[in-house]
């Protein structure tokens, strides 16, 4: 990780923002990194060659996006930490990703549903951020929203095919819904940090985002012939550092090289 972001244009963000901005940008970075890692676990194990490549492609997109956020976060923090320090040298309780993205891959339907829930939020958030007042976030979103549009198309088409496919594919999708639906709401449940950023206009109102997301979910589930799941108790915590047990195992693999050979480059 050595490339740097282009020169940051002056932003119109109010002066108080950086304090809230740093943890939020870190949250975006962690979210993309953790999901990228999960998807990369499929590499060489995909159900067919074409989907193996598709998941690796998406993982790389998300890793690239994570890098941009980490670089910006390091700059906002101004403590001399680099993108690598932030990505590889923090403990699980310091990670700010929502619980959804750290959930294990499970079977293909499980991975697809996790991706669909995330992509639906990610795409609609980036569309707002790219026109938002923070120039750096807008620049990253401008680049990433094209990738996210494809990710959402990919996972949506798969939800439709698994739902309206065979008895087996439907059974697996139903199981994924039963396991993962509880993690969806955290994406649009603002933390204190997010609320503060919404109040100064840096972040969009999640209620408006949710309306767009729900419209898309309804459309996809109708095509998939899957009834919309009833609301369930929302599992929250990841965005404030309270994670499921899965994150620790993920990080021990993700961070292994930097922990074992500090400062390693290649």
């Amino acid at each position: 990780m050595s490339a740097t972001l282009p020169e940051t244009p002056a932003t119109s963000v109010p002066a108080a923002a950086p304090n809230q901005l740093f943890p939020f940008v870190l949250q975006l970075a962690d979210t993309s990194l953790i999901l990228a890692h999960r998807l990369s676990e499929w590499c060489g194990h995909g159900p067919v060659l074409e989907q193996d490549l598709a998941m690796a492609n998406i993982a790389l997109d998300m890793l690239g996006e994570a890098r941009s956020y980490y670089q910006y976060a390091a700059e906002l923090e101004g403590q001399g930490r680099t993108e690598d320090d932030l990505a590889y040298l923090r403990s699980a309780v310091e990670y700010r990703n929502p619980l959804l993205v750290e959930q294990p891959n499970g079977d293909f339907a499980h991975t697809i549903l996790r991706q669909f829930l995330f992509d639906n939020f990610h795409y609609h958030l980036l569309r707002k951020l790219k026109d938002g007042p923070n120039a750096q976030l807008a620049a990253i979103a401008e680049k990433s929203v094209k990738e996210a549009a494809y990710h959402l198309k990919w996972s949506s088409e798969w939800v439709i095919r698994l739902g309206d496919g065979t008895d087996e594919s439907r059974k697996r999708l139903d199981k994924a819904i039963a396991t993962l639906w509880r993690f969806g709401s955290e994406l649009t449940t603002p933390t204190a940090t997010e609320t503060a950023l919404q109040e100064i206009g840096v972040l969009p109102d999640y209620a408006a985002l949710l309306t767009e997301m729900q419209a898309h979910t309804e459309h996809v589930f109708a095509e998939a012939t899957v009834p919309l799941p009833a609301p369930v108790f929302a599992q929250l915590g990841g965005k404030t550092g309270r994670h499921t047990e899965h994150l620790g195992y993920l990080l021990s693999e993700l961070q292994y090289m930097q922990r074992t050979y500090p400062g390693l480059t290649w």
Binding site: V48, L49, E50, L53, A54, N57, W154, E157, R161
Partner: protein, 95 residues
């Protein structure tokens, strides 16, 4: 057809506007939409294309190699069919 196997699709990519689609390979997919998506993921990762066509391989009818003598050899000695007497200006590309 074996229900557990997805059909095979032939993939054609147009590398830039103005050029024609070229056959680049094949892949498996459950239907046309997925075939286009798979082609995007498999064959355009390095900026190879601006447009994708897919066609299910079973719809392609090929000439029989056993016919190649009758089909192709007779053209070999008809040099007058080649427009070799024109000069192509350097500025004309992709001829």
């Amino acid at each position: 057809m074996n229900q557990s196997e997805w059909p095979l699709w032939e993939v054609f990519i147009r590398s830039k506007q103005g050029l024609d689609h070229k056959h680049v390979g094949s892949l498996h997919a459950a239907d046309a939409t997925m075939a286009v998506q798979n082609a995007r993921d498999v064959y355009t990762r390095r900026l190879e294309g601006v447009s994708i066509w897919v066609v299910e391989s079973k719809h392609i009818h090929a000439s029989n190699p056993d016919d190649s003598e009758a089909f192709f050899d007779p053209a070999a000695d008809k040099v007058y069919r080649h427009p070799t007497f024109y000069e192509v200006p350097d500025s004309i590309k992709h001829m």
